[in-house]
Every structure is written in C-alpha cells, then in structure tokens.
C-alpha cells in the first residue's frame, strides 16, 4: 500500500512542485491567486531548478529502480495470495514463474468460509467505523479551522497553540484515560459528573468514532487552519460588505476554496482509520459485531501462526479499499499534500 502511495506521490510531487497554490484555480473567484502575495521571482527559479534536476534521465532511472525495489515485496505477496497453501509454505513466490499453480482458495477461505475468515463481515464493520470517523473529523476540523483563522475571539491564538501542541501528545498516553471515561464516566470526588457510556449492540461503535475523531482532530485543524488562513483578506471584506455573516462566509466563500484540502484531509483520515489496529483493539473490542478488518487480520494466522498463508489474501482484501480511495482522489491528494506547506 505505502508503496503505491509514496511512488505515486513522488512522481506527482515533481510535477506539482511549482508554488502556485492549488486554491488559485477556484471556481469563478475573481481574486488574484494567493501566490501573488509571496515573492514569486526567486522561488519560481529555485523550484524550476529542482524541477529540471528531477526530470533528467538519470533521476528518472533512479526513481524507477527505487519504485521497483519498493514494489517487489508487495508484488510477491500479491502473487503468493493466488498460490495454494502447500506451495506458499514450501517455496518462494518466484517459483510461480517456472511452475504456475493458481488458486482462489485463499480468498475464498478468508472472505466467506463460515468460521475461519469471515472477512466479509469485518469489512462492513471497517466501513461503519471509518466513514463516520472521517466525516466527523473533516466537518469539525473545517469549522474549527475557520473559526480559528477568521473569527476574532479572545484567546484565539492560545487555543490554536494548544491544538498545535496537542499533536505532540502520543495517542497511546490517552488510551487508558479515554477508556475509563467511556467505561466509568467522570467523577469528581464522589459526585458523578458524567455517567458511563453504556452502549448496547451496534451503538458500541460510538466509542470508536469518538476516539478516532479525538485523535484525528488536532492534525486536521492544524492543516485546514494553515490553508484557510492564507485565503486573501479582500475576499472576506468583500463578502462582508455584501452582508455575509460567518455562516454564509464559511459556506459560500471558504468551503468551495478549500475543497482540495478537505479531500486530502479526508484521505489521510480515511487511510489512518482504515489501517488502524490499536484504537480499534481497545475501543471496538474483538468480536465479529464491532471489530474492523485489521483486528481480524491480526488474528487470522491462528493462535500459533500455523495458518499464515491466509494473510496473503487477507492483506489484499484489506488493501483494496484504500487503493480505490487513493486512486479515485489522487489528484486532490497531491494538491492537498502541499496545502499549508508552501506559503504564498
């Protein structure tokens, strides 16, 4: 997975490294691009130099070699996933080319087999966990970033500093307190301030959603804030003159301009939640009703690892969705990567 990401990003990155911010092409906005506020001359040439160097034949060759080396293990895994169990366990994937034996048994076993793989059921859980977690983070982060960038209220800078600082706290530190918050509520002294979240059945997902949202927000707010705060002042003044309040400003002016940033944040968050094991293990539990794909994948090999051939197919089943998401939104991803990173 990471293979495709990094190599594709590298490639695109080369092309997109010109400092013209992606937002400049916003739909029908009559403003000069934010790039105008920087010092285009010197940057342009520096970037152009880098770009030139990156597009020589040697550089391309090196990139291709790196990409091939990087992809090789994944390709081997992919080939392995179609080989019969006995073959996987006794020979390397390259024997495939001299002695081709193909089977879909691994996929059938991990996806549908009644009490072994069942990845199909966990697949649904993964969606139920990932989609809301992504939506919550994107929506809340956009609102918060707007407020932090364009709403004047006392202590604004401190709040932003706090959010920025929170990124440094490793989430492992907050697992136990957060779990306690869910399972026991909050008590100060002997007074129960907040009750325990006793969520039955499908509502058990709420814990995971909240946890993922909490862990995803600091980076989301930071990223979007940097993006939104660079929108030109004149735009907001013009809109205000026309009588727009914050609600209208956000909806009609800001949102259309930050689509690339939103989408890239969504991809980030989606991939992170989809691939997450730790948070899911602790907040979702391990049974078939709430556990996502990653939890199931981690135990797929059996207590003593004797069924590890299943991991080949299992890995690709779990990889399909991130790949689709990535390829579908690839162009935003690259634009969004630069969001907030290149000033002006």
């Amino acid at each position: 997975m990471s293979t495709t990401q990094s190599s594709a990003a590298e490639e695109e990155g080369g092309r997109a490294s010109s400092p013209v911010a992606p937002a400049s092409g916003g739909p029908g906005v009559r403003v000069a691009s934010p790039a105008a506020s920087g010092s285009p001359g010197s940057r342009e040439s520096a970037a152009a130099r880098v770009r030139k160097r990156l597009s020589t034949t040697t550089a391309s060759l090196v990139a291709i070699v790196i990409a091939a080396l990087w992809t090789l293990p994944t390709a081997g895994l992919f080939i392995s996933s179609f080989r019969p169990e006995q073959e996987i366990k006794t020979t390397g994937w390259w024997t495939m080319f001299t002695d081709p034996q193909l089977t879909l048994d691994n996929y059938r076993e991990v996806l549908f087999s009644a009490n072994q793989g069942q990845l199909a059921s966990y697949f649904v859980n993964s969606f139920v966990i990932t989609v809301p977690s992504t939506v919550f983070v994107v929506v809340l982060a956009a609102l918060a970033a707007y407020a932090l960038a364009w709403v004047n209220f006392p202590g604004r800078d401190w709040v932003f500093l706090g959010v920025f600082a929170l990124q440094i706290v490793p989430l492992q530190m907050s697992l136990v307190p957060l779990l306690r918050f869910f399972s026991q509520g909050v008590t100060i002294g002997d007074v129960q301030v907040l009750p325990a979240w006793d969520l039955p059945g499908a509502f058990a997902f709420t814990n995971v959603w909240v946890a993922h949202t909490i862990f995803g927000l600091p980076l989301g707010i930071f990223l979007l804030h940097n993006f939104i705060s660079q929108l030109p002042h004149s735009l907001f003044e013009a809109a205000r003159v026309d009588g727009a309040g914050h609600g209208v400003l956000f909806r009609r002016v800001v949102l259309p301009l930050i689509v690339p940033a939103l989408v890239s944040l969504a991809i980030f968050q989606f991939l992170w939640v989809w691939n997450d094991l730790l948070v899911a293990l602790i907040f979702a539990g391990g049974d078939v009703s709430t556990a996502p794909l990653t939890v199931r994948l981690a135990e797929l090999a059996g207590t003593r690892g004797n069924e590890w051939q299943r991991l080949t197919a299992g890995a690709f089943v779990s990889m399909v969705v991130p790949l689709i998401v990535f390829f579908a939104l690839q162009r935003y991803f690259v634009r969004g990567l630069l969001a907030g990173s290149v000033k002006g």
Binding site: L179, A202, D287, A298
Partner: protein
C-alpha cells in the same frame, strides 16, 4: 477544477447513512441462539446453573479456529443455562488486558497463558479469588503441581484450562523403522542415535527459532528441559525464581549439554543448512523436513501436531509421532515441562462464578476435547475422546499422579527476561556467541 461538489457530499452522506443502517441491520440479524429445552435430558448436567442468567465476557489470547472450537465447546452450556458467553480473542492479549483493567473495562473472565501475569493481577487486587465451589472442583481435577501455579500467597485464584506438553521430540516412525532406529530411553541413547543418524548421512536434528516478535523462544524450551532433567524440579524452581543466578554453573552445564546438539554442525540443521540457519528458520516450518527424511528429530511442544500438512498420519506407526525427551539424570526421573492457560476472573457475579465452575469440570474438558486439537491435565478427561495420538500421549503423561510437572520457565520469569533477554540471548548463542557471555548477558538483565 470541479464546482463545489454538492453531489459528492450528498453521496458521502448517503453512503455513510446507508452503510450505517446496513451495518445495524446486519448486526441485529446475528446472535440470538435458539436455546434448548432446559428440562431435556441433555441439559441435565447444567441443572445447577439454570436459574442464573446474564452474560459473561471472556478475554484470551486464543483466536481464529481454536477460538471457534472454544465457542462450540460451551455452546451447550449457553443453550441450557441461558447464560450468554461473549468471547473475544486477541494476539495482543498480554498488553491489552492491562489496558482494559486500567481503563475500568476489565473482562469478567480472562484466560492467562502465563502464571506470572496472573500473579501480577492477583497482587494488584484486581483478580477475584476462586470461590469455595471452584476451589473444590480444582482440587478434584488437577494435581498440586498445576494448582501451585495459580495459588498466590496461599489463595487459589484460577483454575487450569488447556495444557500443552513441551518435552516432545517429534520423529517419523516410518523413517525410524526403515533405518532400524529405536526410540531412545536415556540421554546417552539419544546421543548415540544422533550419531548413528548422522553417520547415515542425515542430519539428526532440526530446529527453528524464528517466531516474529517472540523469536528465540523455541531454544528456551531446550534449555528448560535440560535443566529440569539434569537437576530436578527444585533447582529448576530456584532458577526460575532467581534464587540461583542465571550464570550459575548448573545452568552453564545445561547450556553445554544443549550445545552438544543445537550447535553441533554434524547434528543440525536438517533440511535447512548450517547451525546459523536455526535462527532464521520459523518454528512452524522447522519440523517439516522430518516428513522428507531430511531431519531425524525435532523438539517442539504438543501443539506442533497442527503444523503437519493435511494428510499426514500422526500415530505411533505413521508418518510422525513424538516421544518424551529421555531422562538425563536417573535420580531425577523424567520431569516434564509444559504450558497452559489459567482461568482468572475480574468479577464475582453469580453468572461469572457459574462459568468458572463449569470450566473447571471434567464435563467441560471432555466437551472441549471433543472439538479436537486440545487436551488438558484434568484427571477426569476421557482420553478416548482425544483424536490426535500425541495429544493422548501428552495428556496421559501430564495427568499421571507420578509425573512431576513444571511450567515453561520463560513464562514464569519477569517479562523483560523471560520474554526479552532470554530469547535474544538464545538467538545470539545460536549465532555463535560464547555460552558464558550469553549467561552473563541474561543475568545482568535480571534486576532483582
């Protein structure tokens, strides 16, 4: 540049809604067991637990197919008593159970694969001691050797569940018969046999230490078995409890004895290569050359029975079978080493007690054994139910009243040693590190 993607947001919102409702519908569809008639004769053994009801959560490291077997093994209990059992298995059990307990989200019951972990939770006061009824069942079911591992400061906290036997030497009866080899009865015979096999051009032993994060543990089994057989259970206990140092002369002697086999280029590594190949061969694969006649013997726990490819006949005259590693010191007999899980509880609700009682009965042991690939040291276990002959052999030895049993030492040592430096030390040792240096390295890592 697309317009502000109204369609896209709509799609995203709809999609999440659809998935959510779909998910809920799918969830509510599951579960809901039929339930059996509580008065029917097949429910008779469960009569004493029938008026309790409720739900019990169990957390353990047993997962995948073995977890399914566990679920099936108590299905009848659920149907007859109406007590629901929510099982959850995770490979991250050791770390996660601590997080769950700290987070106030402890499971009702946990199966501890290491007595050391059990002891930690008992010491912190999180575990609930075994009630009178469970204690009684435990005493009927298991030998004192087993119960000692679940007894902390004189209080019994848990009952044993499954067991595995770690003194097995796997071999191929057909390969032995074809070449006129016989199963050795003493250590000297074992070395003699190894020499004979080596002279015939086959490497007599194979071994593999690779096991992901736990790489190195298979070699600790070698050392533990040798120490136990050479010096007896008392010295073994002292060693495990660090009452004698890790670099004691007795331990060094045991390493030297293992050295004769594990680091002898004439003896290893059947089917894989030289001595160094041991470190990079996975323990799951290490024994397989036995089937091809490329390796004579493989020391590995009883659970290795599941690793043989489908169609392999495991029996006394078949493709593979196992013998108990022979005694070294006649005075010490043949003490055996093994492992197992212990059923500890974090709650004392009546339904939790009921499940604890049930798991301690011979009835349960037989139900679980009937699902296959499992045995326990329970005295009441019906050996006829055990399908795999090596399981039968293991269970027979374990529950023999004369058998001296000791738990896998690395599971009893502090985690930084037993699941850390001991493993790493063994890997370095296989790769050629000096025995004394290895012993000093492990000793220095043991803080108290």
């Amino acid at each position: 540049m697309p317009k502000f993607p109204n369609p896209r947001t709509t799609i995203a919102a709809t999609l999440s809604l659809v998935l959510l409702t779909g998910g809920c519908a799918y969830l509510s569809g599951g579960g809901g067991s039929a339930g059996a008639d509580p008065d029917s004769p097949e429910c008779e053994p469960y009569a004493q637990w029938q008026d309790i009801g409720g739900s019990v959560s169990i957390y353990a490291s047993i997962r995948d197919e073995e977890a399914e077997r566990l679920r099936r093994s108590w299905q009848k209990f659920i149907d007859c008593t109406g007590i629901d059992i929510q099982y959850e298995g995770s490979g991250e059990f050791e770390a996660q159970v601590q997080v769950k307990v700290d987070g106030g989200n402890a499971p009702d019951i946990a199966f501890f694969p290491q007595p050391g972990l059990l002891e930690r939770f008992a010491a912190s006061g999180d575990l609930v001691a075994a009630p009178e009824s469970v204690q009684q069942l435990a005493e009927e079911g298991w030998s004192q050797d087993w119960l000692d591992y679940a007894t902390i400061d004189g209080t019994l906290y848990a009952t044993p569940l499954g067991a595995n036997f770690k003194s097995f030497v796997w071999y191929s009866p057909t390969f032995f018969a074809d070449n006129g080899y016989e199963v050795p009865q003493t250590w000297d015979e074992l070395i003699e046999l190894s020499d004979t096999i080596a002279d015939d051009g086959v490497k007599p032993w194979c071994a593999g230490l690779e096991s992901g994060d736990a790489t190195g543990w298979p070699a600790t089994d070698w050392i533990e078995n040798v120490i136990l057989r050479e010096n007896g259970p008392e010295v073994y206990d002292q060693w495990v409890n660090h009452e004698i140092p890790f670099n004691d002369a007795k331990i060094a002697a045991a390493f030297d004895r293992a050295d004769e086999i594990l680091r002898n280029p004439d003896y290893v590594n059947g089917g894989f290569g030289n001595v160094q190949s041991i470190a990079i061969t996975s323990f799951q694969e290490a024994g397989l050359p036995i089937l091809d006649g490329e390796c004579g013997m493989y020391l590995m726990g009883s659970f290795y029975a599941a690793q043989w490819p489908e169609g392999t006949e495991v029996s006394e005259t078949g493709d593979v079978y196992a013998f108990n590693l022979p005694p070294i010191n006649p005075e010490q007999g043949t003490p055996v080493m093994g492992g197992g899980e212990f059923v500890g509880a974090f709650s004392d609700r009546p339904e939790v007690v009921a499940v604890r009682e049930y798991l301690a009965t011979a009835e349960y042991a037989n139900n679980r054994a009937a699902e296959g690939a499992w045995f326990s040291a329970h005295q009441g276990l019906d050996l006829e139910i055990l399908e795999v002959p090596t399981d039968r052999l293991g269970a027979e030895i374990l529950r023999d009243p004369d058998t001296v049993f000791r738990f896998d030492g690395s599971d009893l040592m502090p985690a930084e040693v037993g699941a850390g430096t001991f493993w790493r030390g063994m890997v370095n040792w296989i790769n050629g590190e000096d025995t004394d240096a290895t012993l000093d390295y492990i000793e220095n890592s043991w803080s108290s």
